[in-house]
Amino acid sequence: MSNIESHTIAYVRDTMIPEQDPPITETGAIKWLRENLFSGWFNTILTLLSLAIIWWSVAAIGPWLWNMVWNAGSLRECRELLDGAQGACFAVINDRWHQLLFGFYPSSLYWRPTLALILLFVALAPILFPDLPRKMLWFSAVYPFLTYHLLWGGSVWLPIVALLGFVAGYVAWRLVTRISPLAAVFAAVIVPVLWWIVVAAPLDRFLFSGLPWGLEFVRSDRFGGFLISLVIGITGIAISLPLGILLALGRQSDMVFLKSVCVIFIEFIRGVPLITLLFTASLLLNYFLPPGTSFDLILRVIIMVTLFAAAYMAEVIRGGLAALPRGQYEAADALGLDYWKAQRLIIMPQALKISIPGIVNTFIGLFKDTTLVVFIGLLDPIGLSNAIRASTDWQGIYWELFIFIGVLFFVFCFGISRYSMYLERRLKTDHK
């Protein structure tokens, strides 16, 4: 007790209070529990309810997972091994994993898609992580053509001739850009397209007749399983982003014709379900093409899925563009940057950064939508799970297949999502 008189305000402390531990209820696990789980009667009820739900779920699924069987030739064998107990029969994955991953791709050639997947990560690395040497981007540029040859095989000249189309486009752009930048853009589009339509096929045949090099050809209908999901998904992702950027810019353009083409395209594609586009790709497109042209089904599906995603992408990016203050455009203009340089150096880096969550959303959506191809007869993992169930050995098996397919998709989608969060952190420069 202090002896301070009520009428004086002077006070001198003579003994210092030593540091003491906080009360037991304010530290460690108890504090955490109190604050996070039992901070009131309502939250306490919610906590207990959640615990009950978790308990019921674990009690229901736990034994089933615990008793899983990995080695059996058929569902009947599985049941005999389990002897009446509940248990997951993952033996089906053990038995058919190669089909779920590769479809009917020749098993002696599994190394080709596997190598393509490994190289995919090598090609993506310099794009995803800017600290890596920039020279690696050259491999990323060649990768699509290399992978085409790895997966399909056939004439080695076809991807090379196709690659030359881009070179032709670049040369055209360089030549015309001195005359008019706008005409150069058109030249850079038209010249490669003409190259692919007119020159590519004969040149490929000519070169192949002279030098018949290349890997063994694999027909598209041998493709299936997760391979097909990845081929469609990754091609779609890679092409829909640049296409979406161009569509978004076109929609903002002052040129009336260009603008209306972009608006009509975006609104049409967004107004139509993906499944109708896929049916169009598989059934109707052949009627419109000249008779005799065989136009690969996977390629048709890739085109449709890409266009579909690009329309969504365009709107996501338009949102990012709209969020940029006008001053950014004006500052870029005032410094003398031309349209494309301003877009590339000032506008897009900021607009894309704002749009990252939306872009990733579209990517993940596209990747999962690839399972819709089952309806047009392509054997993606879902299609194959139906096929596996149709065999006498595995009739009646559901969960194990879908869990496996779900995990495969989850790994990729979760990876994309984590990367996007890393990217958002890395690009955060506004210090808000």
Binding site: G327, L335, G336, L337, K341, I346, T429, H431
Partner: protein, 267 residues
């Protein structure tokens, strides 16, 4: 008229030895008109700026002063009349526009720095991509001008980490890195806290002392008195009065000018 109140005290002696107005024409504007839709923003603007002139444009808000200087680097398009900058006429020809823009620097009210680039990158971007200056050289130029605006130590920070006054000085340095022959200032101090206005005005005065041709839209009358060789007063899209600063402030001719001056200097 009572004695002028000089805002934000420009105390230092201004070195006028380099401030020479030459006979060479830098900007020639003749009978320029501009409309926003049916609204006639700029009416029959005639204006000649000689190299080395320091012009302050003032006037009430909505008088078209910002629009006028934004026409000079074609951030706004004029519909009638002629604007010739450094011998290049501004038409819809993109080549001419880019040429003029690379010769004319502009500083904005809201700085408009690029938030995703560092201060140094903000300054080197245009020299590297427009002038094709090698990166090392562009870095040197940028550091030179950042020293001039007295913030070289901030070079590796991002704009969001700087104060308003510092950001505006970076914006000035960014323009200077293109070695412009003319500088336009669009209300450079209007968005700043009072204590930061002085540092930006000091930078602008230093620029004037080196003989830069400048057109400033500003309400800093102290700056106008100290540095400008001509003040232009605009109202309703027209040039109402122009004169030397001392005549303009001490002996305004038109009633509109008198009213304006009494409003901004009165209290």
């Amino acid at each position: 008229m009572t004695e002028m109140q000089i805002d934000h005290g420009i105390e230092r002696k201004i070195d006028t030895s380099q401030m020479k107005v030459t006979d060479e024409v830098a900007i020639q504007i003749t009978e320029m008109n501009k409309w926003y839709g049916s609204f006639h923003v700029l009416r029959d603007i005639d204006m000649t700026v000689n190299r080395g002139e320091r012009i302050v444009v003032c006037g009430p808000s909505g008088s078209g002063k910002s629009t006028l200087i934004r026409c000079i680097n074609r951030l706004e398009e004029h519909q009638a009349g002629q604007i010739i900058v450094d011998g290049t006429e501004l038409t819809s020809d993109l080549k001419n526009i880019d040429k003029v823009r690379s010769e004319v620097g502009m500083v904005f009210q809201h700085f408009n720095l690029f938030p995703h680039l560092t201060i140094l990158e903000n300054c080197t971007l245009a020299p590297i991509w427009v002038r094709k200056t090698p990166k090392r050289e562009a870095d040197e130029i940028a550091m030179h001008f950042l020293e001039k605006v007295k913030i070289p130590e901030q070079a590796l920070k991002y704009p969001g980490q700087l104060s308003g006054g510092q950001q505006q000085r970076v914006a000035i340095a960014r323009s200077l890195c293109m070695k412009p022959r003319i500088m336009l200032f669009d209300e450079p101090t209007s968005a700043l806290d009072p204590e930061m206005i002085k540092e930006v005005l000091d930078t602008m005065i230093a620029l004037a002392e080196e003989g830069m041709t400048m057109i400033c839209v500003t309400h800093e009358m102290g700056f106008a008195q100290a540095v400008a060789n001509r003040v232009i007063f605009m109202d309703q899209g027209q040039i109402v009065e122009q004169n030397t600063p001392s005549e303009f402030f001490n002996n305004p001719k038109s009633d509109r000018t008198k009213l304006f001056l009494s409003q901004i200097l009165g209290h």
